[in-house]
């Protein structure tokens, strides 16, 4: 019998035991006696979510390509197993070796969304590692965080020994070499972290002191020698040379992203002012079509997946998109592989491609205008016009499509009732376009069906809107009501379905996104009160969050609705993602005037990423 950390009885009792047994295709098992560094890579959510994440697969493959390192995976045990592990005192284990995470050298978390923060504490606690970095001993694993949320790590900084700011492919070898030296020379944890802090992109919270003004805003950041702190992200220079996993782990159970994922480029030339990823991953870097074609074949052969998907922030902007897609259509047809093409602009090319790879009757067109009026779309710098949308929709209707999905945000800066009502208007115009484009006798796939979804806008660090006040939950719900009323007053209202997002969880996400160090106590208190899986509607407990903030004297409005001064120092200002604060400030001011900034292909707008670590922006 293969080794399992959980007994047979437990495995037969819990939901989906396959979450906990490892043994998947391409999982890497090494002889622990022949390696120097054991690294547990954690996505702090349930297996099916964590296994769908490309970043972990990249690091897993990269680390395991080093002879002296064995990287394993660990995910949050689902609530059923969580309870059993607490009741029976079973320590959290990594999937490959089934051995306790506490015995590892490193425990690394990827931080993809704010609502997973209590799950970080769950993983630490179940592993038997002290929750606070300051309480850890020399024998505890070094706890490191990476991923987009590390661009404001302050609300969780006291739970981490260090954060890796930037792209993971470039800096870990140096860290591992330092760690081996630290082990050989038996230096202290503190000395090791000091050395780490001297590597570009590494943030050791215990070595940075934050001072505050009387009003609670940040006054400044100083390091342990009293000097100002400035940490510049790690960045991949040439995508073709960056490590890419050729043998990703293939889960047994169905996971969210159950397919080959081909990352075609990193970064985005569009300067949408609400979008954090669009700033964090600058500058844009493409992989070559030749490299991608080779990767696609290898990945399909090595995984046996029946679907391949392209990944990027805006696939239509990839210069080799037509060549790559045509190649994939030909290859995938031979192999009975499905192709999924997210984030493609609707034009002649994409309609032609989609009619080849999708079942028109079942698939839908997706547009993300994000705002209902042109005025508002100018404010957010979303280049899409009403004409673009109607033209794209018409083209697709003429080719047989009937389903349209539309995504919008509510609560954007400077939003008026007219802007919101514009959402209903555009949905109605799309319906009219259908009835105009497709004569009655040709509507063999039925009438048009439009689904409008709205989420609530959350200002994020390192965007032009980092200065923007966020709406309160009540405003959000009022706005959703206005949207719903406007839709029901439309001529084609019966063809339009409307969904809106939860308001409460958006407010909490807003607090954490622009939070500061004072929130560490909040996260810890909430965890101790039993909060985990806050990203899951059925486990998120708004009352607990609100009452705990009240207990700790934390004012939600300070983080959400407060109007921030143009010169305010933000909790994340000591980090440098390449895009300068001056540029963001200019963008914020332009947005207030409704001025559009052209995308990077048309003109360089001087964001600062042009000269990131000696690498030039190709635009």
């Amino acid at each position: 019998m293969q080794k399992t950390a959980l007994s047979d009885k437990i495995l037969l009792k819990v939901e989906k035991p396959a979450r906990y047994i490892g043994n998947e295709i391409n999982a890497v098992v090494k002889n622990k006696n022949e390696i120097d560094i054991r690294f547990a890579l954690c996505f702090p959510d349930v297996y099916e979510i964590g296994m769908s994440h490309l970043g972990i697969q990249i690091l897993y493959s990269l680390f395991n390509s080093y002879e002296d390192v064995w990287a394993e995976r660990v995910y949050s045990p689902w609530v059923d197993l969580d309870k059993i592990m607490r009741d029976d005192n079973i320590p959290l284990f990594a999937l490959e070796s089934q051995e306790p995470v506490k015995n590892f050298d490193f425990l690394g978390f990827t931080l993809q969304y704010e609502m997973c923060y209590t799950n970080i504490l769950q993983v630490l606690d179940l592993a038997g590692i002290p929750i606070r970095a300051s309480d850890r001993s020399e024998d505890d694993p070094i706890v490191v965080g990476g991923g987009p949320c590390t661009y404001n790590p302050e609300p969780i900084c006291e739970f981490f020994d260090f954060f890796y700011i930037g792209e993971g492919e470039t800096g870990y070898r140096e860290i591992f070499d330092l760690y081996k030296e630290h082990k050989a020379k038996k230096t202290t944890r503190k000395e090791f972290l000091k050395r780490i802090s001297q590597i570009e992109g590494m943030y050791v919270p215990s070595l940075v002191e934050v001072t505050y003004n009387d009003d609670g805003t940040v006054k400044g950041f100083t390091d342990d020698e009293g000097k100002p702190v400035h940490i510049k992200k790690q960045v991949v220079r040439e995508m073709d040379k960056a490590h890419y996993p050729e043998k990703p782990v293939v889960p047994f159970i169905k996971v969210t992203q159950d397919r080959v994922v081909l990352e075609i480029q990193r970064g985005c030339v569009r300067g949408c002012r609400f979008c954090q990823a669009g700033q964090l991953y600058r500058p844009v870097r493409e992989r070559s079509v030749e490299h991608l074609e080779e990767m696609a074949i290898k990945l399909l052969n090595n995984t046996g997946h029946e679907e391949i998907s392209l990944s990027s922030l805006s696939s239509s902007d990839f210069s080799g998109i037509e060549e790559l897609v045509n190649f994939l259509i030909e290859e995938c047809d031979k192999r009975h592989i499905n192709i999924s093409l997210p984030s493609l602009r609707i034009d002649n090319f994409s309609v032609d491609v989609m009619s080849k790879v999708q079942d028109i009757k079942k698939s839908s067109l997706t547009f993300a205008p994000e705002a209902g009026s042109q005025r508002m779309r100018n404010i957010i710098n979303k280049g899409l016009t009403e004409e673009d949308i109607l033209k794209g929709a018409r083209l697709a209707f003429e080719n047989g499509w009937t389903r349209v999905k539309l995504y919008f945000m509510l609560g954007l800066p400077g939003e008026t009732v007219e802007d919101i009502e514009g959402i209903a208007d555009i949905a109605d115009k799309i319906a009219r376009e259908f009835f105009d484009a497709v004569p009655k006798e040709e509507r063999k796939n039925g009438p048009v069906q439009i689904v409008v979804s709205t989420s609530f806008f959350i200002p994020k660090p390192f965007t032009a809107f980092q200065w923007a006040p966020m709406n309160e939950a009540k405003d959000f719900l009022d706005k959703a009501y206005i949207t719903r009323k406007a839709i029901t007053s439309m001529l084609n209202q019966k063809r339009i379905k409307y969904n809106w997002h939860e308001a409460d969880v958006s407010v909490i996400e807003g607090i954490l996104a622009r939070g500061d160090r004072k929130l560490n106590d909040l996260i810890e208190t909430l965890y101790k009160k039993g909060c985990i899986y806050d990203a899951w509607g059925e486990y998120f407990d708004m009352d607990k969050w609100m009452s705990t903030m009240a207990e700790l004297g934390i004012d939600p409005a300070f983080y959400t609705t407060r109007k921030r001064d143009l010169d305010e120092i933000f909790p994340w200002d000591f980090l440098d993602c390449g895009v300068s604060k001056d540029f963001l400030k200019r963008e914020w001011e332009r947005s207030l005037k409704g001025e559009v900034t052209p995308n990077c292909m048309l003109r360089c707008n001087g964001c600062g990423a042009v000269n990131m670590n000696g690498m030039y922006c190709p635009m």
Partner: protein, 233 residues
């Protein structure tokens, strides 16, 4: 060409349910670059069907599935290339080329043989062993079977084809046809109840050793393993 595959499932793979095992084999066929036949239509799927789902937790040395191939480089290469892409816990044991008019595995299954042992390696209680002869000698063995809709009384005696017991294991050959399938644990539970011995099914490991088809004439039962028809290829 229709090919019947015999495989074993053990180790941690016992925690993989039937539908996930199907997905696992679909991906394995692609990794092994088997020239498997796909169905027609907009979303074609591999032509693959299993003899009988195996319960989660059960070890098997005799699982079967049928696939349709466009071409093959022969039995040995077929088995080897599949075994090369298996994970520990799944092993391809045999493959045979089926006659064109052969019934598929699922409708062919008539019986299955099982062994039931204690997971802790312990002995089967003396009271159970000593009650076994009388238990199996009864004219009828009534059990209550709970289905989704109702609870019903059922005589399982006619569905038990072979029964054996010693201190190590209970061995059974029972009806596994779609009409009269008997779960082995039902028999074991009935036996323990008859012997008046407390019992937790989770303490017992079920091992399915073989699945059979019935090639007998008329009412005469003649059970042979599912891969005994067909030929090498």
């Amino acid at each position: 060409m229709k090919v019947r595959i015999k495989f074993a499932k053990s180790g941690v793979m016992v925690y993989i349910g039937h539908l996930d095992l199907l997905r696992y084999f679909q991906k394995s066929m692609r990794r092994a670059q088997i020239d498997i036949k796909y169905s027609e239509g907009f979303s074609p799927h591999q032509i693959m069907s299993f003899a009988a789902p195996l319960g989660v937790g059960v070890i098997s040395n005799g699982e079967y599935m049928d696939v349709e191939l466009n071409s093959s480089e022969g039995k040995a290469s077929f088995i080897d290339s599949l075994n090369e892409v298996m994970v520990p816990g799944v092993k391809i044991l045999n493959a045979v080329l089926l006659p064109d008019k052969a019934k598929n595995a699922m409708s062919s299954v008539a019986a299955a043989s099982y062994r039931i042992v204690r997971k802790d390696g312990g002995k089967i209680p003396e009271e159970v062993i000593s009650s076994a002869d009388v238990f199996i000698g009864q004219n009828e063995i009534m059990i209550t079977k709970e289905t989704k809709k109702n609870v019903m009384e059922l005589d399982i005696k006619p569905h038990i084809y072979q029964f054996g017991i010693d201190s190590e294991e209970i061995s059974l050959k029972v009806d596994a046809s779609s009409a009269g399938n008997i779960k082995p644990m039902l028999v074991v539970e009935a036996l323990y109840r008859y012997a008046g011995v407390d019992f937790d099914p989770l303490d017992m490991q079920i091992i399915r050793d073989e699945m059979y088809m019935d090639i007998g004439e008329g009412d005469e039962r003649e059970l042979v393993s599912l891969d005994s028809i067909g030929e090498d290829f």
